[in-house]
Amino acid sequence: MTALQLEKVRKVYRSGDGEIVAVDRASLEVGDAEIVALVGPSGSGKTTLLSISGGLLSPSAGRVVVAGDDISGYDPKRLTKFRRETVGFVFQSVNLVPFLTARENLLVVADFGRRDKKKSAARADQLLDELGLDQRKANLPAQLSGGERQRVAVGRAFMNEPDLVLIDEPTSALDTKLGEQVMELIVTEVRNRDTAAVIVTHDQRMTHHADRILHITDGILSDAPRS
């Protein structure tokens, strides 16, 4: 099954009397367990495309199908449920809850999803173990290093057993070595769980982890960088 399918997706923002086309007729298919890197300069539309894929934004036109469900026409309530059950996010600025421990930052996903508490706790512990954070479970984000925080964010993205993980600039705040480590962890988690992933990055050094690299410039998606 295709994890993500975009068909001629377009996103237009109004600006005064004019329009800004953030994404222009983008079509894309991401298979199960496939990792796609989305590369492009700042303002090219990669974050917008990621937001549309994850149900954070609705497209102005086109069709978005995630794990077999066409979410293009979903209302905000259905999109909330969709995000809760089907996708996982790793945000560029990590965005951990500062007063929750590493473990609680994972459990908060289950809390909002009203999932079984015992199963959720076991899953959080397993994810933290896999991410090498078993000794840091009880630490608050302020007590963790940048790499550790990013790993917690990765764990949180996998808490709801998603079909698709959307990752925004995972290495932007890390040095090359830490960035490599985090990318390896992400790839391992994605592969182990047969989950599809779209990774937005402007860091060309990290793209070798992906099965496929797509380029986006001025909202237009292509297999090769546009000259």
């Binding site: 954070l56 909330t80 995000r83 809760r84 996982g88 945000f91 929750l100």
Partner: protein
Amino acid sequence: MKVALLELRRRPWRFAPAVIALVLLTVLLLILGGLLDGLYSGFTGALRAQPGELLAYAADARLSVLRSRIDAATAAEVERAPGVAQVGVLGTALLGATVPGQVTEASVALFGYQLAPHGVPAPPSQAGKVYADTSLKAHGVKEGQTLLLGPKRYPVSVVGWVSGTNFLLQGGLWGNVDTWREVLASARPDLMLAAGTYQVLTVSTAAGADPARVAAAIDVATGGTTYTVTRSFAVDALPGIKQQRSTFNAIIDMTFVVAALVVALFFVLLILERTGMYAVFKAIGASSGQLVSQVVLQAIVIAALSFVLGAMLALAVGAVIPPEVPLELTVGRAIEVALGLIVMATLGSGLSLRRVVRIDPATAIS
């Protein structure tokens, strides 16, 4: 796991401004309520304690116990009226009392009674013996003491205590009708009443009788020389009682509104600060309803905590307030304030609903 409760536990200082404001408002609400209750009790206790459902005044007395005069013939007509089960006479005199060892006089309301009011024993058999209201302890009155009443220093000895029986903010003294008549003759010979004449009748109605119908029947039976009302009507007719209650209640209601506004303003500012965090929560699947319920839960916990701290502070304030201030801190008033604060906190925090709904989850990723 409740994120809201964990935040309260781990970042209590963040909620300190709201807690401080609500603690002060709680103290204000409890003190205002305590003063209202104290004033109400001090003004009306003697009438509210009367055993009969009805009080019969002279028709021309305009519901004033002090002006009212009911003679023996009228009292007999009242007793014969349909629906009347029992009639007792009541007389009062407002006086100054010299307390042994005290420089200042205590203001007292001496009552002569036949039917024992609630919480008051049967009248002492001997003249010159009285039960004193416990509020007079603040004026140095002790059991066994002899108080000297009025300008002629009529002596009465205190043989026991009663409570909640004050009248017009004067400490209640309860003796038999002979004591009252002798004191009145001693202190105000100009107001001396004829034998068999009293001020007010307290009337118990027969089982199942409608008090309003019985009151009307009494006034018909006496040919319109009496004006008979229910006890609660008589209480409300005391001068200034309604105005006092409505003024205090208006201030208390406004204070509750201020509490709601404090909570609303605090959480609006807190939500502005938390926009990023809430956007992330929404991005990972939290609904607006779940986030608002977290805000409301925090508001309720803050209100409950503030009430506990405020109640402790109010008790401390009550302990240092001079005894002549009629402050009465009651459990009923405390429950009312606690529930009111929680309701206002819920309403105040609920005002943040619109702001939470408007947070765009897409901002978590942009």
